[in-house]
């Protein structure tokens, strides 16, 4: 069965390592924070100027001066630091952030990503997404494998305006875990109960399937 958004987040959390500095985008990526293994030290960076982001505040303890990049009220953990937006993107551009997780509308089998603009619709802006994808050492995309019409979002090339080129390293969808390699998407794991055939049929871009593809472990 296809994963729900919580399971996608849970699977991505398995990519975390002790000592990682991580930037989590809005949507499913935000949920990854709930699955950081006990005892593992992972620091969350919020590009509006915070390292050491904590959970949402208890009711009545919200502080308008303390928000994340999604403009949500948050808290900080011991050892947190505030900085300005230039230093924030400085640490992103200089590769100090170990992992960036973000959503996508489309990803190409070259690792291009489109997630900011749909022609004909009001464009809200790229925010920090273009900086993040152009800079991160390691980018994981959290996404649904297909759009609501059932069309593949993993394409030979993106049809929407790009956010960044050749930057996505790994994709965790509701159906599969894939690396993005020089030769295309490489299938690594499938969602429990989802067949390799289904993944192939729902992947429009080049998909490499080699050997036995195991089910994801949680």
């Amino acid at each position: 069965m296809a994963l729900d958004k919580f399971q996608i987040a849970q699977r991505i959390a398995k990519e975390l390592k002790d000592g990682f500095y991580v930037n989590l985008g809005i949507g499913i990526p935000t949920l990854v924070a709930n699955y950081i293994p006990e005892g593992m030290n992972v620091e969350l960076q919020s590009e509006n100027g915070l390292l050491g982001m904590g959970p949402f505040p208890f009711e009545g303890e919200e502080d308008a001066d303390l928000i994340n990049a999604g403009k949500q009220t948050i808290t900080t953990l011991p050892g947190s630091v505030f900085f300005d937006s230039a230093m924030s993107f400085g640490m992103i551009r200089s590769g100090k952030v170990d992992l960036t997780v973000l959503g996508a509308m489309e990803v190409s089998d070259q690792g291009d990503i489109a997630n900011w603009k749909i022609p004909g619709k009001m464009v809200k802006g790229m925010g920090g997404a273009m900086d993040l994808v152009a800079s991160a050492k390691n980018i994981i995309v959290a996404m649904m494998h297909t759009n609501p019409k059932g069309e593949s979002k993993l394409l030979p090339s993106c049809t929407l305006p790009l956010t960044g080129k050749r930057c996505v390293k790994k994709i965790v969808s509701d159906l599969a875990v894939m690396d993005v390699t020089d030769e295309g998407f490489k299938l690594l794991e499938r969602a429990p109960g989802v067949s390799v055939e289904e993944i192939i049929s729902k992947t429009a871009g080049k998909l490499i399937v080699e050997g036995e593809i195991k089910e994801m472990q949680f």
Binding site: A64, S85, K165
Partner: protein
Amino acid sequence: MNKVYSGADQAINDIKDGSTLMLGGFGLCGIPENCIAALVKNGVKHLTCISNNAGVDDFGIGLMLQKKQVRKMISSYVGENAEFERQLLSGELEVELIPQGTLATRCMASGYGLPAIFTPAGVGTEVAEGKEVRIFNGKEYLLELAFDADFAIVKAWKGDTMGNLIFKDTARNFNPLMAMAGKITIAEVEELVQPGELDPNQIHTPGIYVHRIFKGTGYEKRIEQRTIRKKS
């Protein structure tokens, strides 16, 4: 040399139609509420506003949009604003979208006397159109110019009469960067103190960058996305 102004009305009084303004803040966090209210009251028009966001319909820069005071917005993200969308679609308002890190760094570059920066953000996208691309260590970068503004309007937590500023939490965001990039920089602060009351090791914006300062009043500090958890 007195930098202290009585309030927002006096501090923004000489801003003329057609000026370029930088306004600090991220979303509604750390925005110069007093100066925005004074600009709305004053009615100055045809402004170019450089600000990460454009406020919401009835707060922040949204208030200036309602009064049709803004000709052009230069931002990274302009969602959450229906009036903005209406003016944009009708052609009354022009918008230039810039990646957030590029926006921040171009402000800083101005305050650091660096005429341009190279950034990888936007390479291979429509943001790169017409821009010089240059390769350093095998990676492509765009040349982006520093930018300044006729007036930078920022909000700080504490300031002293010499213009030294301290920001609080994530209300810092673009404020110290824009403070460095204004030909004239106006700072509104929650607390205005005498020289020597702020720890000289802990000042975020040195007063040399700040031309006018006043103690703001009545901060609403509206929250855009109130997210909470339950006590278990």
